[in-house]
Symmetry: C2
Subunit: 269 residues, 2 copies
């Protein structure tokens, strides 16, 4: 039974801090669902479990025990490792090996990629990864100066999806756009500008089939002019009521599902 | 200049509590955007403004001054009235007069309504109202045992949309479904069950045009069997990757925009 002062618990707790996550290439997944997904993805280094009163925690701990290092924590140690107010009894130290944008682009065939430009909020980034996963998107690429996707708040907001699809570092947005276009992706920025194409019209015109890269702006500042100028089309989600905008994850849901729908039943079919 | 102990500030602060909001039929809108929307909607009783260093706060205060009671607060009074950590300088006491589901149903013509069954989380409810507004939905109806839409967290999450479309009390869900069907609405529950219809197929089959009511379940428990049995169709958003589900607001965004798209270009057109 590890206490809050044990070296192993201190090492795990270090992963609350982005600098140590980067240096060690490790991060934390909390709660039985996330830990189960992490184990299935082969991402887990070790499992830390408190008294497993919860049935789901006990199940996941039993599955881990067969093939991974597992350590018991007392309640204070769990509270020290967890980043939530009401920790769910189990935490995994995971390795972060997200692959590269080049690997994603080397995959053949039609499909969608989401490129987020300087995404700042971990909750938004996590919600975006979850939406992308649901819509069957191939990968989420985060530009330089975006939030760290292994931030605990982001990991939690992905609801397990961080372990389902590549979430890769894209470098500078303009260079990433060039790589996407060279790989045959049509680059579509979502933004509200006068010169933008209506999403419904874009679908009717067949712009949403094939290899599609959605380019999403920063929550507060949107996309800078040089990014808007570098994409194939700027697409506007029609606002049919009087809302000013949609939030990032809901906008991504509308766009990615429009392309998924178009792929399932291409225009003119 | 009102202090935190003035009667007016104490009265406003009372509206942090749901019971007093219900008794008084009043609630608070915070921040210059929300207060501006509330003024435009004719919902404001009085405006409370702290030292207006912020340009937008000063603008909204000036617009209010022409036609509404407005009171200056010191910083402590603002902190007492506001429910956010970093209050944005201006708060409005608003009256809550949401209308009824019957009034919504009396509106003629095609359109969408969202009926939320026992929605528990104010952030989700607010995000839902914002999505519904963006997608041009006619009204959001909340069943009995749903969260109070004038909860400050919900008001904030609507990003002003609470003042754009009716958010009405629907009573018991089953009775609301009967009223919707009597008014010619096709009732579509979104849920993941084996017998459900794929959203893309529902659109191809023309189920998304006309008068459409989306029925959304509780965040944790979904829809009870008697509600699923009482709707015309249970519609499933296809999960194309490995996510377990979408959150409520993103699911609503996908459904409401699918119907908006279908209305803009009906199947077979």
């Amino acid at each position: 039974m590890l206490s809050a002062r044990s070296a192993r618990v201190r090492d795990a707790r270090q992963l609350h801090v982005g600098k140590f996550r980067r240096i060690r290439g490790e991060f934390l997944a909390e709660g039985p669902q996330a830990v189960r997904e992490a184990i299935e993805a082969g991402a887990v280094v070790e499992v830390l479990v408190a008294d497993a009163r919860d049935r789901l925690v006990a199940e996941v701990a039993a599955a881990a025990r067969a093939r991974l290092p597992i350590h018991r924590l007392d309640d204070a140690a769990l509270a020290a490792v967890a980043t939530t107010q009401s920790p769910q009894g189990i935490v995994a130290v995971c390795r972060w090996a997200p692959g590269t944008l080049a690997e994603v682009l080397a995959e053949a065939g039609p499909g969608q990629v989401v490129l987020a430009h300087e995404m700042a909020d971990p909750g938004n980034a996590g919600a975006l990864v979850r939406v992308a996963d649901a819509a069957g998107v191939r990968a989420v690429a985060l530009s330089d100066r975006s939030v760290d996707p292994t931030n605990p708040k982001c990991v939690r907001a992905t609801a397990g999806s961080l372990f389902h699809l590549p979430v890769v570092a894209a470098g500078e947005t303009i260079a990433a756009l060039e790589a996407l276009r060279a790989a045959g992706y049509r680059t579509l920025a979502t933004d509200v500008t006068t010169e933008s194409v209506d999403l419904f019209a874009a679908e009717r015109d067949g712009l949403l089939v094939g290899r599609i890269a959605w380019v999403l702006g920063n929550e507060a500042h949107g996309l800078p002019p040089e990014v808007r100028a570098a994409v194939d089309h700027v697409v506007r989600i029609p606002i049919l009521g009087r809302a000013e905008s949609l939030n990032l994850a809901t906008a991504a849901a509308v766009c990615c599902y429009a392309a998924a729908r178009a792929a399932a039943a291409p225009a003119g079919a």
